[in-house]
C-alpha cells in the first residue's frame, strides 16, 4: 500500500476539505470516486492540524509513526485494544484507501478472520517459520486468543452438569490471568518478549485444547477423553515450546517453560474432569 514518505505532502488543506465533503455528500459505496484524487493519502498531509474530526481517529497515529518498518506493528497495536467497534478500526489503516471507513462490515470481519487463520497456521501447525519466534507472530492480534478462551470456557460450561457459571468463571479466569502471569514470568526472568505478542501466542496455542474440549463434550467415554486430551495437550505444548524457550536465557529455559506446561496441564485436567 502506498505510504506518504514517497510522495511530497500536500501543504494545503483545501484538498482535505474537498475530501470531507465528498465523504459526507457521497453515497456509502461511492468510494470509487476517490481514486480520481492524487494517490497520496491525505491523512498524512496535515502534521500541523488535527482539527478535521470527521476523519477517522487513526489519523492521529500516522504523523507520529513515520518510520516505515514499524508499519505493521503500530496499527495492530492501535487496533488490538479497540475491541468495541469493528468498523473502521482495522490494521490496514496505514496508507490505505479511505475504504476502510466506508467498507462493508463483512470486509472488515473477513480481514480479521483471515488474520486469525494465518496466525493460527503460523503458530499451531508445522511451518518453516517456527524456529524464528520473532517472525512467528509479527502480525499478532488478540481476537484469536479471545475467541479461543471464550470458546473453551463455553464448552466447559456446557459440559458441566452443575455450577455452570462457576465453571466458566474459573476457566476464563485461569486462562486469561494465566496468560498475563506467564508473560510477566518470562519478563521477570530477564527474557525478551513483547507483552502482547506473548499473550497472543499463548492464546493461539489454546486452539488444540479447545478442539479437545469440543470432542470431549460430544463424547462421554472417559478413556477416549483421556486419549484425546493427552494428544491435544501435547500439541499445545509443542506449539508453545519454541517461542517460550527462545525468549529466555538457556539456563532458565525450564523455569520459563514449566508454568506454561502447568497451565496447559491443569486446563487439560479440567477438560477431562468436567462431568
Amino acid at each position: 500500500m502506498s505510504h506518504g514518505d514517497t510522495i511530497p505532502l500536500h501543504p494545503s488543506s483545501q484538498s482535505d476539505i474537498d475530501e470531507i465533503e465528498n465523504l459526507i455528500n457521497a453515497d456509502v459505496h461511492s468510494a470509487t470516486v476517490l481514486p480520481a484524487r492524487p494517490p497520496s493519502p491525505p491523512r498524512v498531509s496535515i502534521p500541523i492540524s488535527h482539527s478535521p474530526s470527521p476523519l477517522p481517529p487513526y489519523q492521529k497515529v500516522t504523523p507520529s509513526a513515520s518510520p516505515p518498518p514499524v508499519v505493521p506493528a503500530v496499527p495492530a497495536a492501535a487496533a488490538a485494544p479497540a475491541g468495541s467497534s469493528r468498523i473502521g478500526i482495522s490494521s490496514d489503516a496505514f496508507g490505505s484507501s479511505p475504504d476502510t471507513l466506508t467498507e462493508p462490515v463483512w470486509d472488515t470481519v473477513k480481514r480479521d478472520l483471515a488474520r486469525i487463520v494465518s496466525n493460527l497456521k503460523l503458530v499451531v501447525f508445522p511451518n518453516p517459520y517456527r524456529e524464528d519466534p520473532g517472525r512467528a507472530l509479527r502480525d499478532w492480534d488478540l481476537w484469536g486468543p479471545f475467541f479461543f478462551i471464550v470458546f473453551l470456557g463455553l464448552t466447559l460450561s456446557w459440559s458441566a452438569s452443575a455450577k455452570k457459571s462457576e465453571v466458566f468463571a474459573v476457566a476464563f479466569a485461569i486462562l486469561a490471568a494465566g496468560a498475563i502471569i506467564l508473560t510477566l514470568n518470562v519478563l521477570l526472568l530477564g527474557g525478551h518478549i513483547i507483552f502482547f505478542q506473548s499473550l497472543s501466542l499463548l492464546g493461539y496455542c489454546l486452539f488444540p485444547l479447545a478442539i479437545g474440549a469440543l470432542i470431549c463434550m460430544l463424547e462421554g467415554n472417559v478413556i477416549i477423553k483421556i486419549v484425546v486430551v493427552s494428544v491435544t495437550l501435547a500439541w499445545s505444548c509443542w506449539a508453545a515450546y519454541p517461542f517460550m524457550s527462545a525468549a529466555v536465557n538457556p539456563r532458565r529455559k525450564a523455569l520459563a517453560l514449566y508454568p506454561v506446561f502447568l497451565m496447559y496441564i491443569s486446563v487439560a485436567f479440567f477438560i477431562i474432569a468436567i462431568d
Binding site: V167, V170, L189, K253, L255, L262
Partner: protein, 264 residues
C-alpha cells in the same frame, strides 16, 4: 551491573562511599554486606536495576520511590535464579537441614514461592476431587464422579492467602521485637516450605483413612520443623520461642486443613 553506575544521575557520589552510607541509612539497610541493598526493600523503591550498594541521592529516592512499584524491571532482582539453583533450593527444603536460610540469604527469589504455590493449588483442587471420589466410592460403590469447582477457589484462597499473609504477619512481629529481617526472605522461606505438600497430595489419594492421617501428620511435622529451623537461623537467637512455636502451629494447622477439607 555497570549500567547501574552510569545510568544514575547521582553517580558522582561513587567516590564517597562512606559518606553516602551515612546519608542512606534512613532509606535502606545497606549494612549487611552479603546482600544487595535493594533486596531488603519490598516493594522496590527504585525505577530500575541498581547495583548493590550503589548510593542514590536522597532526593532521587523520595521522588522516584513510588515509581519502582509499577516497573517490572525493578522486580527482576527477585527472580535472579537459574534452573539448577531453584532445584537445589527445593531439594534442600525437603531435607530439614539448617542451611536453607544461608542459601537464600544472598539471593532470595520469589519464583519458587509463586510457582510452588500455584502448582500446589492445582494439585489440591485436582487430587482433592479424585481423593474424595475414591473415598466415597469405597464406602458407597454407587457414587458417580463429580467435579466440585469450589475446590479450585478454596485451594487458591487457602494457599495463596497463607503464603502471603503469614510471612507478612511474622515480618511485622519480628520488626516489633527489634529484629531486622527482610520480607522477601520470609516469603521465600514459607513458599519453599510448601513444596513437601506436593508429593503428599499424591499419596493422600489412597483411600485408607489411617494412612492418610499418618501421612499428613508426618508432612506437617516435617514442614513445621523446617520453618522452625529456618526462623531460628533468621532471627539468630532463641529468645523468640513463642513466635517460632506459633509458626510451627500455623504450618501444622495448614497441613490439617489440607487433609480435612480436600481429602475428607
Amino acid at each position: 551491573m555497570e549500567e547501574g553506575y552510569t545510568s544514575l544521575p547521582a553517580s558522582h557520589l561513587l567516590g564517597s562511599v562512606p559518606a553516602v552510607i551515612a546519608e542512606d541509612k534512613t532509606t535502606s539497610v545497606a549494612s549487611e554486606a552479603a546482600s544487595s541493598a535493594n533486596l531488603h526493600l519490598f516493594p522496590p523503591s527504585n525505577g530500575g536495576y541498581r547495583a548493590p550498594g550503589t548510593p542514590s541521592g536522597a532526593d532521587e529516592q523520595t521522588t522516584s520511590s513510588w515509581q519502582g512499584v509499577f516497573s517490572i524491571s525493578s522486580y527482576s532482582s527477585y527472580f535472579n535464579v537459574d534452573t539448577d539453583v531453584v532445584v537445589e533450593r527445593i531439594i534442600s527444603s525437603v531435607y530439614p537441614m539448617n542451611d536453607f536460610y544461608r542459601k537464600i540469604d544472598g539471593n532470595p527469589d520469589l519464583y519458587g514461592p509463586i510457582w510452588i504455590s500455584a502448582t500446589l493449588m492445582f494439585m489440591l483442587a485436582a487430587l482433592g476431587n479424585v481423593g474424595t471420589y475414591v473415598m466415597e466410592k469405597r464406602n458407597d460403590s454407587s457414587t458417580t464422579w463429580t467435579f466440585d469447582v469450589n475446590y479450585v477457589e478454596w485451594s487458591a484462597c487457602a494457599i495463596f492467602g497463607y503464603v502471603l499473609a503469614v510471612p507478612a504477619a511474622f515480618y511485622f512481629l519480628l520488626q516489633y521485637f527489634g529484629f531486622r529481617t527482610s520480607l522477601v526472605r520470609l516469603w521465600c522461606m514459607w513458599g519453599y516450605s510448601l513444596f513437601i505438600f506436593m508429593p503428599i497430595c499424591m499419596l493422600l489419594v489412597v483411600p485408607v483413612e489411617l494412612f492418610r492421617w499418618i501421612i499428613i501428620i508426618l508432612a506437617g511435622t516435617a514442614s513445621s520443623w523446617f520453618i522452625a529451623m529456618n526462623l531460628k537461623a533468621c532471627t539468630q537467637s532463641s529468645d523468640l520461642m513463642i513466635l517460632i512455636v506459633g509458626a510451627m502451629v500455623l504450618q501444622f494447622a495448614l497441613a490439617l486443613f489440607i487433609k480435612m477439607f480436600f481429602f475428607p
